[in-house]
Symmetry: C2
Subunit: 198 residues, 2 copies
DNA sequence: ATGCGTACGGAGGTAGCATCCGTTTTGCTG
DNA sequence: CAGCAAAACGGATGCTACCTCCGTACGCAT
């Protein structure tokens, strides 16, 4: 079907315009009201009818995935920075934080994300991003394990879940201080207890 | 307010009957469809009109709190068992598991629970249970800390959040195996690295 | 300029929430 | 036992949001 789009004639001007307007408006509404925001309101503010919104993005998840695609560029940028780091443990830590920020971009985002991570439905547009993130985390974990800084029993998926959890809590409106305490707790959980005393 | 109820004339028969029917039906629906279940459907199946439901329980949270009151008896029972234990670290672990089960009784329960735990609104009926649970956790933590089995930096509230997180993930439909890995990760985070080798 | 085909958009049917008020039930009192 | 006042009932109601369907309008290639 995507092949069909590519092979077909070039997209019409109004299609592109509407799609862009919808994405822009949707991102604003997701930011302000969370992922549960009214899609009718998004359509109206983007200056299109509900039908147009649903033709472009058949489900809420599809719209969400498209908006996140934009956001994921930021994540990739941070990833580039992180890969410059020498310390793999530091890299892992920053990567986890980057994921957490990504997950908590919109209030309520972790729920559909987790639903997609289960990934029984291969047509769920959020499934693919999740898989990529888990794989990436796995690599950071392995690198840090080679340096002996992270317990060998830990897997990327575990920390993916942990980051998701923290993002979820953040989305419920918890203060920053308890959040930081939880992050510390988790870090204590995955870090190898090292014998070097400072 | 409970004093007011006690001082007033005895409650009418239909009131008690309807309240019981609502609670019973609501619990079934929460179990089957999560906390977001249709209240209209609950009312209809309980054989009352919507108005009656909303008079008894003005908000979804109020109904939820009332249903949880029933469930909390089970928690108290487990608490009694746990307090028989000699090992405070074991007690803490079992308590965390008990809370987690309580939180994941209904899918979607952790969200309103966290909202109540923030507790700006003193009239939120879920706030009080949360406070009690946090306090209880704090005591288990302190007991285990006295035995040197739990890091001194850990607070009850931290583990309350952790238990909530795990319950949330469970509610999203994740398998048991990744959940258990996460629990292990958290346990590694709060346990004092002890030097005693078995 | 014209016509074809794609995309638009709003009307409309469905579902759930929360409220209000005329009616019914209850249990006390004479 | 009958009658009455208070209390509770319940459904009709207005609202918001979801999602679909189809007559219409618009963009583009000729």
């Amino acid at each position: 079907m995507s092949a069909g789009e590519l092979r077909g004639r070039k997209p019409r001007a109004d299609v592109q315009r509407n799609r862009a307007a919808l994405l822009e408006t949707a991102q604003r509404h997701f930011l302000q009201h969370g992922v549960g925001t009214s899609l009718e309101a998004v359509a109206k503010e983007a200056g299109v009818g509900p039908g147009t919104l649903y033709r472009h993005f058949p489900t809420r998840e599809a719209l969400l995935a498209a908006v996140l695609q934009t956001r994921s560029e930021e994540l990739v940028a941070r990833q580039a920075d992180i890969e410059q780091l020498d310390d793999p443990a530091e890299a892992l830590e920053q990567w986890l934080r980057a994921m957490e920020d990504y997950f908590s971009a919109f209030s309520g985002l972790p729920d559909p994300l987790m639903a997609a991570a289960r990934a029984q439905e291969p047509d769920n547009p959020l499934t693919i991003p999740c898989d990529i993130l888990i794989s990436a985390t796995d690599e950071y974990v392995r690198a840090a394990q080679l340096g002996g800084r992270v317990r060998v029993s830990v897997r990327g998926h575990d920390l993916f879940l942990a980051a998701c959890s923290v993002a979820w809590i953040k989305g419920t409106g918890t203060e920053e201080e308890p959040l930081d305490r939880l992050r510390t707790l988790i870090a204590s959980g995955y870090r190898e207890r090292d014998n070097i005393q400072v």
